[in-house]
Symmetry: C3
Subunit: 181 residues, 3 copies
């Protein structure tokens, strides 16, 4: 069973690792944590409480909290899209919380939305489920490595920021493996 406390501790541990703070407004924070809990119960993963998930893991991967967009958003605006994670100056009220434009590519939003609305219309009309327009097969993952520190990841696209050395996305290149022997 997932409890609000589990969700809170995981978020807090992650905030500490990255030097972030959780939103100090306890009521607002509680709402976000409940959203994460609800999504984890519904989908099996804690997708972003401020975005619509498709329920298909591969389409939602980039918006599982902490989402792919958190680090560049905290760097540029001081908080993530939901204002769950904050930089110290905003946490301490020394800088204002600004509206944050959606950084998720429109193409990913559209793919997720197509699945969501299809599921919804089937629920309404009672039609048999049809072939999904975009499945996991649509996502091609590759090995990437950070040219600065050597960090290796297996993803569709490289991360915005290297979690090890903080190099920018442009520092990642594809890693092609040639067999040994």
């Amino acid at each position: 069973m997932i409890t609000i406390e589990n969700v809170r501790q995981r978020a807090q541990a992650d905030a500490r690792t990255y030097g972030y703070y959780l939103n100090p407004d306890s009521e607002f924070l509680q709402d976000l944590l409940e959203g994460l809990k609800k999504n984890e119960e519904r989908y099996g993963y804690p997708s972003c409480p401020c975005r619509v998930a498709s329920g298909e893991f591969e389409l939602d991967r980039d918006i599982i909290c902490p989402c792919d967009y958190r680090d560049p958003d905290v760097a540029e605006y001081g908080t993530c899209y939901c204002a769950l994670y904050m930089r110290k100056d905003l946490y301490e009220g020394k800088a204002p919380i600004l509206p944050i434009p959606e950084r998720r590519p429109a193409e990913k939003q559209t793919r997720a939305y197509a699945v969501t609305s299809q599921v919804a219309s089937q629920a309404v009309t009672g039609e048999a489920p049809v072939m999904k327009t975009a499945g996991p097969a649509a996502v091609r993952k590759k090995l990437w490595y950070c040219r600065q520190c050597g960090y290796v990841v297996f993803r569709e696209d490289p991360p915005y920021v290297c979690p090890i050395c903080k190099a920018k996305r442009e520092m990642f290149v594809e890693l092609e493996i040639t067999p040994v022997g």
Copy 2:
């Protein structure tokens, strides 16, 4: 030469990275650090001061401090098995320190114990060393990746928690490499 200060600094650096605290009881902490130092001198790696190591790296890998069980134990009980690493609330005395059940699989304990007792009995009887029952070859490592953030590791089993995005062990799947060209 390994000094207590080296051991302390490494533990402190690691505590900071994960947002943990070292046990505030300075005498108790000193004992643990001395245990780590003694193990590092004896085996070449700082195996857990509260567990019996075999001296075979591959069998002890999961109990090299910080052990594989630390993060789930701190998450569930607030401290690691030894109470070396602690969560903030326990460090500050706001929550009690509870006994922690051994999370290490019995099978791993048995393998390590078999090696330890064999070495001990040889020491007593003066017999020639025999073929060890379990060697490094018994451990088959694989590449795994975190489906959430793409983190890649080469281990026998995936970690309990992804060190990068904190996803649970179930989020890891085997990464099969197909050669390029």
Copy 3:
């Protein structure tokens, strides 16, 4: 455009991740951040403000800030080579800042210097650029993994310290990939 604030935030985020502090002397810190900014504008990457870069990424990779030598230097001396990153005791003035010997191998310094001086002499004589003595091809990267935690990197040499579990460099071994199917 790169601003001093970008450079400062990246350094601060990285300091927090590793439990370090930025130099408290604000004027000295400002000079280092300006050095990083200037190098990033000139070379495309923020090479160490206290070392001479060649401008060839593969030759400078180990001195891109945070450099490969930061973690062992902070562990041993309490600060990095530039005194940009500091351990808490030195940050708080409880321990003195000592001169730090250059840990970068002489061979790497020589390679970088050969390129730098060649470029400089071409600039002076106006000669046509000649084949560079050491190019990216001279660097052979391999996959390495940490035997303790399984962390995988793709680099020329393994890191001094595993960024995930803090194991020493000796814990890394080459990872040879055999194809599946």
